[in-house]
Amino acid sequence: MDKPDKRGRMHQSANKKQAQGVPDRYPLKDRPAREIATPVGQPGQHSPEPADEKEEWIRRQLRAVYDETLSEPIPKRFLELLDKIDKTDPESK
C-alpha cells in the first residue's frame, strides 16, 4: 500500500481550514483546462525535450485522447450532486 494518507485520505481533524489562498496561486476558473494542472512545480519541467518525431507523435496522440474527455461538457449529475450537498450540508462547523 502506498502512502494513502499523504493527501488523499483523511482522518479526523480538529481545525477547519479554508481553501482560500488557493485561487490566488491557481486561478483555476480563468484558465484553459490543461493549465489547471500545471501550476505547481517548475514550469517547463513537465515537458521533456522531444526526443524524436515518434515521441512527439505519441505526445500528440496522448493529448488528443485526453483532450477528448476534457472538451466534453461536465455531466449534469456532478453539478446536481454539488448543489444538493450545498443545500443539505450548509456549513457544518
Partner: protein, 190 residues
C-alpha cells in the same frame, strides 16, 4: 473575495472536473466507471474539505483522492474474487476493460494495454501536464519512479505503435482503399 469559503471550494472542484474526468477515464478506461470514480471523489473531497491544505494544488489533491479510491476499489474487488473462485474470477476483474475497448482507436488500445502504473504516470505527465514532482506526489512514489514509469510507457507505445502505419491506415480509409490497420496494436491487446 467570497464570504463563503465552501462555495469557493465548490467552484474549485467544478473547475477541476474536466481534468478529473479525463484522468479517471485514462485509469479506469471504462467511461461509466470513470464517472463513478469522479462522483465518489467529489463526495470524499467535500466531506474532507477541512483536510485540504490551502496553498497546495487542489487539482493534485483531487487526483490523489481519485487515484487512491480507484486502487482501493480494485484491491477490494480482487480480494472478493480471490476469496471466491480464485484465478478464474480474478480474470473477470480485468475482462470488462478489454470489452469496453472495442471502439477505441489504435493509440487508445495501446495506452489501455499498458500496466496501470505506467499508464497513470504517462497520463499525469503527458495528458494532465503535471510536473514529475506533482505526479510523484499524486502517486505516492519517488520522482525517479515516475520518470522511469513514463519512460517505460513511452518506450512501450513506441514499440507497439507505428505512426506511419496508423497514418497510412487513416489515409487508406479516406481513399477507400484496403486498410492496412495497425497490426502491431492488436498483438498486444490479446
Amino acid at each position: 473575495m467570497t464570504d463563503n469559503p465552501d462555495a469557493d471550494f465548490r467552484d474549485q472542484i467544478v473547475a477541476c472536473l474536466p481534468n478529473l474526468r479525463a484522468f479517471a477515464r485514462s485509469i479506469a478506461i471504462d467511461a461509466a466507471r470513470a464517472d463513478d470514480l469522479v462522483q465518489d471523489t467529489i463526495l470524499k473531497a467535500l466531506c474532507n474539505s477541512d483536510k485540504f491544505q490551502p496553498g497546495t494544488n487542489v487539482v493534485a489533491w483531487l487526483f490523489t483522492i481519485l487515484r487512491n479510491h480507484y486502487y482501493t476499489e480494485l484491491r477490494n474487488r480482487r480480494r472478493e474474487v480471490e476469496d471466491g473462485d480464485g484465478a478464474h474470477a480474478a480474470r473477470l476483474v480485468t475482462l470488462p476493460r478489454q470489452i469496453s475497448n472495442l471502439e477505441m482507436g489504435d493509440f487508445q488500445k495501446a495506452l489501455a494495454a499498458l500496466p496501470d502504473e505506467q499508464r497513470e504516470a504517462l497520463v499525469l505527465v503527458g495528458g494532465s501536464g503535471f510536473s514529475y514532482e506533482d505526479a510523484a506526489e499524486i502517486c505516492g512514489c519517488a520522482v525517479g519512479t515516475i520518470k522511469s514509469r513514463v519512460n517505460r510507457a513511452r518506450a512501450r507505445l513506441s514499440e507497439v505503435l507505428d505512426p506511419d502505419a496508423v497514418a497510412a491506415a487513416a489515409k487508406a480509409e479516406d481513399a477507400d482503399e484496403p486498410c492496412p490497420k495497425a497490426v502491431t496494436v492488436t498483438s498486444i491487446a490479446s
